[in-house]
Subunit: 447 residues, 2 copies
């Protein structure tokens, strides 16, 4: 890539730079060109966007951050800026308008044709993380009364700006979605066939105000390349293409993983996130957990005398509380993921809890025996083996149950179950674990 | 859905069932029909697959498990079975052949035309989780010398079976990939344009033997709908379409989440996984962690006298080891995800470790102060606050460092970094935490 950058620098301001630049970057994809662009100085970036073709320029702009997009649009000629803005995919344009100052956005919006601006305005009203916020209006629409031939001619006319040309969206006069017809069906059909003969009136759609995860789930379930987004009256608001949903799927998984690990999700990529941000994303949870865990200390203090009598009891505390935390972490991650994938839902609460309790009892039995052997082996006090073994059994069974109930309840309350992180479960089961342990000890060791 | 099933049952064996069934399911997607089919009895399933159109039957089969696919193929007429098998997407066929008994596979393979069978044979040689193992040969190929018009006619002829018709793969006489041309480019180009005028000789490809995650990464980076898979001599082996990679992306994230939670990944969906399997996937890690943690008990035993003298030391053990574990869990989940997304790589090891150490020092300072206050507040022994506070600081800084170094080192050694789960880090830092704590205590409390 360094070669390309060197080449470009020498060509950008040459006499017939347009041709030279186009030739030198011919072998690169827009994504790569965006990376190249970001290595250049501001004036070189500007020149680069100005000399390449309008189509390529918008494709490169798509991969840039809104502030860079705005800077480049702001410093080019108004004519070019207008052309670029009109060619930019509508979802990218919406993101840009929402990121810049409303006054700046107003100027840019003024450059758009009336009808297009209205549709963009609609898209801008959907809250973040809804299906509507991801939608683009760059789809190909047609009417039931059209023939395949007429539709194909229409595709040729408007297809250049379409985000997805694999599907044609058949709408009625009120803009309501009748059906989705694939380009494949049309290419294979007789040119004189009417679309009304192909449509079946039951397209899979996603409501504009539903969560973006819902759109991702439908799309991956049905293996579509795009999914139509409709409003409450079934009017077609836009479409979401699979490549945008792939980003959503990745981002949602990243968010869940970071939450499950016990931190707030990062907004930017790891290397771009400064240490202070990492610190802020983590410190609150650590403090919350710290204060919750402080209770465990108070509980232990109650058993000071028991501890004084049998100091060996303290040797097994890390072992026991970690066993509980580990089991809880296993359960919680499995369930949170199953919920995110839609593998289980509210109505499966009892099924999931039963399953985890059964698994917890089995795991408790195995680790309980291991703990018994371990404690006996240490040979510290007679009967300590039974105390440690029994405690391990109860703690593990308890941890599994809590770790199953909590995410299911949160999901039912429409709170993201991923807030129940491994660390949170560990902390929550520690106190009860210590209680169980010392009470069993007092009972069996007669202290 | 229950209505559809009732309807179907009454129609399946009616006189003109083909027409009646087709009408009654007209509004459903193949994915939904697969769910409906699985609710039927075996003989009804068979009848269902036999009466619907060949195309729909294969689309439904795609969503079934190999054993069901094989049963349905096995019990239909040979003529129908052959037609179904030839229409089945090649990646689905490969999965079927690999899942059934080799002798059964041989029979089915015998039904395929020679040239197709050879290509399927090639696909079957790629190990699981490689890009090659996901590839399908149902793509549309053309030659550089063809015009757009000729290519479009070719698409009309072979397009019905293609997995993706959005791209045309231009290959030379030796089957090497020259470039990928989009259907959009072709529809918009003049019919007499030669493909050689459109191609640019630098397609983004993935090697057949590279990891499937690499294919997913490229695809989501470049926003493609499919990515070509080539062998070592750049011959086109097949393509992977985005919908298959969406499944890979979901599955890989699921696997990482389950591993990070400290269990082996599940193969089937949660509700389908029996308790005994859940138990097996979890018990080994719990036992490993249990035995590792047992060392902590031994370490504590060394400090029996110190404990006897200041029993209050034991009150802070859960607090301190959990703080270390929680911090480690935050770091490890963040880094494992960043590695999986390709946000960081081997060359960023030092950058990441430095970042985590700096964050760890900050977090250690905050939690250290909180721990100091907490211990002083408890008012147990003078100076205990300093011991607990200092220990918290060192334990958290240490946990961050270990949790940063381990996944980076494993990644360098080409071991999946997700094996460093939150529970593993907790266990690993506990021993050192206890050592640090008691040594600071001995120093400051003069015991």
């Amino acid at each position: 890539m360094r070669d390309t950058i060197q080449d470009l620098r020498s060509l950008l301001f040459a006499p017939n730079s347009e041709e030279l630049v186009t030739d030198s970057i011919d072998h690169l994809q827009p994504y790569d060109l965006a990376l190249v662009l970001l290595e250049l100085e501001y004036d070189e970036q500007q020149r680069f966007i100005d000399v390449v073709s309008l189509e390529l320029a918008t494709e490169i702009l798509e991969y840039l951050e809104p502030e860079d997009q705005y800077r480049l649009l702001h410093h080019t000629s108004e004519e070019r800026a207008i052309a670029l803005l009109r060619t930019l995919p509508s979802d990218t344009a919406v993101d840009l308008f929402l990121a810049i100052h409303p006054r700046q956005a107003e100027v840019l919006l003024g450059w758009l044709p009336d009808e297009y601006r209205e549709r963009i305005d609609t898209l801008m009203t959907f809250p973040e993380n809804t299906a509507g916020s991801l939608a683009t209006v760059d789809y190909i629409a047609s009417r039931e009364g059209w023939t395949v031939e007429k539709t194909l001619a229409h595709i040729r006319k408007v297809g250049r700006k379409a985000e997805v040309i694999s599907y044609i969206y058949v709408v009625n006069a009120r803009g309501q979605l009748i059906d989705v017809v694939s380009l494949k069906e049309m290419i294979l059909a007789h040119p004189q066939t009417l679309l009304s003969e192909i449509v079946s009136n039951n397209p899979i759609v996603v409501a504009a105000d539903s969560d973006q995860e819902e759109a991702a789930r439908l799309l991956s379930q049905y293996d579509f390349l795009a999914i139509p987004v409709v409003d409450a009256s079934n009017r077609l608001v836009g479409i979401i293409s699979v490549d945008d949903l792939v980003d959503v799927i990745q981002a949602e998984a990243t968010e869940d993983i970071q939450k499950l690990g016990g931190s707030e999700p990062l907004i930017e990529s790891y290397l771009k996130t400064p240490v202070l941000t990492l610190f802020q994303k983590r410190v609150w949870w650590l403090l919350v957990l710290f204060f919750a865990e402080a209770i465990t200390g108070n509980i232990m203090r109650h058993y000071e005398e028991a501890l004084m009598e049998v100091i060996a009891l303290s040797f097994f505390i890390p072992l026991l509380i970690d066993a509980g935390g580990n089991t809880g972490s296993q359960t919680v991650t499995t369930l949170v993921r199953a919920l995110a994938l839609g593998e289980i839902d509210v109505e499966d609460t009892w099924k999931a809890v039963k399953k985890e309790m059964a698994t917890g009892l089995l795991l408790g039995a195995v680790i309980g025996i291991a703990a018994f052997v371990r404690a006996e082996f240490m040979g510290v006090t007679s009967n300590l083996g039974s105390v440690v073994g029994l405690s391990a059994f109860f703690i593990i069974a308890w941890a599994s149950t809590v770790a199953a109930v909590l995410p299911m309840v949160l999901h039912r309350l429409k709170v993201d179950p991923a807030v129940v992180s491994g660390p949170l479960i560990t902390t929550l089961v520690d106190g009860v674990g210590i209680l169980v342990y010392f009470n069993i000890a007092k009972l069996l060791l007669d202290i």
